[in-house]
């Protein structure tokens, strides 16, 4: 995109719609949006000042502006607070759109590196977020150093990975699953 | 004049119609003493075809024909019966409209034979033998089986004077018909011998008889689904009952035991095609178009007893 002009192209429309439909969002539902702005007033992305927040994201999706989502990372800043889902008067489920767009971007390898890290952690250790130094913190409180999760149970971890390998993660993960 | 002579022939049928005569119990004795049964094949009397054929034409007062016309033998016998009998009655729904066995018309004889003699799980036929019209037994006896034809109603082969519905006809209806015959109080030739109205008119479940209108059918259920309420109209409850289109001479027997009417009684007079009226009726009571898609196997449902006798009759593409 150069300067402040967005080109609307029929070609893109179709492509994005097909992709987000495939990723679990109904475009027909989405098109009910009348841009009333109710979601935007309390969307954390809007309040934090991201370039694209839920109202604009819905509109851009209806216009099929795929490039925006591949280039701008705003959708990855959605807090998943679901307030938009709760208050949307047209019941378009904006948050489901965010997830569908992320899934679409994921298939185009357009995601922040932190997402890749958390997915790798998730697959390898069973936890998306593992903060270093936990052993020490847990010991201090008299808790077992490693929590009784998949992390401390090798057999379960293998099974867990076996299961995860059968999901779409295997197709889109930018790292090997083995 | 002596006692009226009676003939009875069972063609492509199951014998159920014969049994419904037995259901007349004591009344049967009155009948048997009032008439002279000259021919009752193949179930009751051992009269040879030759002897039957030798009787003078028109010498029999009334002929009853049960079962449909499925092969050349039936066809031959139908013509013979017609010649011998002054009045010929298609007795039961097979004779009248083809009956359940009329559904074979949906398939070729080859398909049917293969199914019956080869393709079923329980069949033990290692050589894949199929019946063939001509067989030589012991190398010397030529045996000839009657050739299978499409199922036809009796009326499609010879002229029929009266029709009686039912699979089998209800004994009360048989009784009424016999009395009418014996007393000579018959409707115009070509008619059904029937009360003339639908099962609904005598069905205890019908709210209309209590002055209430039927509710619209909002779901389509199979008979195995849900609980049948004792008093409720089955159509209202979503069971595809054909009571409205079926002659009610049966006394709504099935409905009394929680079975929706399947139409064995045949259509109400003036209805030219039972299945089409049934389709029309069911589609008319349903609340919406989507329910139409929920009806399973509509062809068998609506034409269970009347395919050969339907308007499309023998013109079905296989």
């Amino acid at each position: 995109m150069e300067g402040n002009l967005i080109k609307l192209s029929e070609e893109f429309l179709q492509e994005l719609w097909e992709e987000i439909e495939e990723m679990g969002m109904s475009v027909k539902d989405l098109r009910r949006c009348i841009q009333c702005g109710r979601c935007a007033a309390t969307c954390p992305m809007a309040l934090a000042g991201l370039d694209y927040f839920i109202k604009k994201i819905v509109h851009a999706s209806i216009l099929g502006l795929k490039e925006i989502f591949l280039e701008d990372s705003s959708i990855w800043g959605c807090q998943s607070c679901n307030r938009c889902v709760e208050i949307c008067p047209m019941d378009i489920k904006p948050y489901e759109l965010i997830l569908a767009l992320r899934r679409m971007c994921m298939r185009n390898y357009a995601m922040p590196s932190s997402t890749i890290d958390s997915l790798r952690n998730y697959y390898e250790k069973g936890h998306s977020v593992i903060t270093a130094g936990y052993e020490e913190r847990r010991r201090k409180l008299g808790l077992p150093e490693v929590p009784p999760t998949v992390l401390s149970n090798e057999e379960m971890r293998k099974k867990f990975q076996e299961v995860i390998k059968q999901t779409a993660l295997a197709e889109v993960a930018p790292f090997p699953l083995d | 004049m002596g006692k009226p002579k009676i003939a009875y022939y069972l063609a492509g049928g199951c014998g159920g119609c014969d049994i419904s005569l037995v259901d007349l119990s004591e009344f049967l004795i009155d009948v048997v003493t009032a008439v002279d049964i000259v021919f009752f094949a193949p179930t009751l009397l051992d009269v040879k075809y030759k002897d039957f054929e030798a009787l003078p034409d028109g010498s029999i007062e009334v002929g009853f024909w049960s079962g449909n016309v499925r092969n050349k033998e039936h066809e031959h016998m139908a013509k013979t019966m017609r010649r011998k009998c002054k009045t010929l009655i298609a007795y039961g729904i097979c004779a009248s409209l083809g009956g359940i066995k009329g559904l074979v018309n949906l398939y070729t004889n080859q398909e049917l034979l293969e199914k019956a003699y080869r393709d079923t799980f329980s069949t033990d036929n290692p050589t894949g033998e199929l019946p063939s019209p001509k067989v030589t037994v012991d190398g010397k006896y030529e045996l000839e089986l009657p050739e299978l034809t499409e199922v036809r109603t009796l009326g499609q082969v010879v002229e029929v004077d009266y029709l009686i519905g039912g699979c089998p006809p209800h004994y009360e209806q048989v009784k009424k018909a016999l009395i009418a015959l014996l007393e000579g109080k018959l409707p115009p030739p070509g008619s059904w011998i029937t009360m003339g109205h639908a099962v609904c008119e005598i069905c205890k479940r019908n709210p209309v008889l209590k002055g209430k209108s039927k509710e619209i059918t909002t779901e389509v259920k199979r008979i195995i689904e849900g609980e049948l309420e004792e008093e409720r109209c089955l159509l209202e409850a979503g069971y595809l009952c054909l009571g409205p289109v079926t002659q009610g001479d049966c006394g709504a027997s099935c409905l009394k035991v929680n079975i929706p009417c399947r139409g064995c009684g045949g259509p109400i007079p003036e209805v030219s095609d039972f299945g089409l009226r049934a389709i029309n009726m069911i589609a008319s009571v349903l609340e919406n178009e989507e329910l139409v898609d929920k009806i399973e196997d509509p062809l068998h449902l609506f034409y269970r007893y009347s395919l050969p006798g339907s308007m499309l009759g023998g013109r079905i593409k296989k």
Partner: protein, 137 residues
């Protein structure tokens, strides 16, 4: 003259019949093989009409009604649709080509659609050939 298709159209007075009139006044041309029987409402169509036409030798039957929601009699077209759908399922199972029986919603203003439907149906029937279930065949 060789075989020409014969199409029986049973059309509702308020929509499809009016569309056919309009098609004429706008001089849209379509094959002269379709003949309308006028009924007040598509809800007046009995399945027997369709089958009777077919066994009598009509090569196709078209039922024309008002668009859903536009029925002059409120809901006759919905009843027609239900009956038609169920009938069609049965007739198809009996081996009647589905193209030979058709239901179309054609409003009084859709003259062009009327002409197009008839043209298309005529072409389809020419492709399929004469109706095989004609009486006596």
């Amino acid at each position: 003259m060789g075989w020409e298709p014969k199409i029986v159209v049973i059309a509702c007075n308020w929509c499809t019949y009016a569309a056919a009139d309009l098609a004429g006044s706008l001089r849209y041309s379509y094959p002269p093989t379709a003949h309308i029987i006028r009924v007040p409402c598509s809800g007046r169509v009995e399945p027997e009409f369709i089958v009777k036409a077919l066994i009598n030798g009509a090569d196709a039957v078209l039922i024309g009604g008002c668009h859903p929601g536009d029925c002059h009699y409120r809901s006759g077209n919905y009843k027609a649709l239900r009956r038609f759908k169920l009938l069609k399922r049965v007739l198809e199972e009996l081996g009647i080509e589905e193209e030979r029986i058709r239901l179309e919603w054609i409003s009084g203003s859709e003259a062009k659609k009327f002409a197009e439907v008839i043209t298309e149906l005529d072409a389809k029937i020419r492709e399929l050939g004469p109706n095989p279930i004609k009486r006596g065949v």
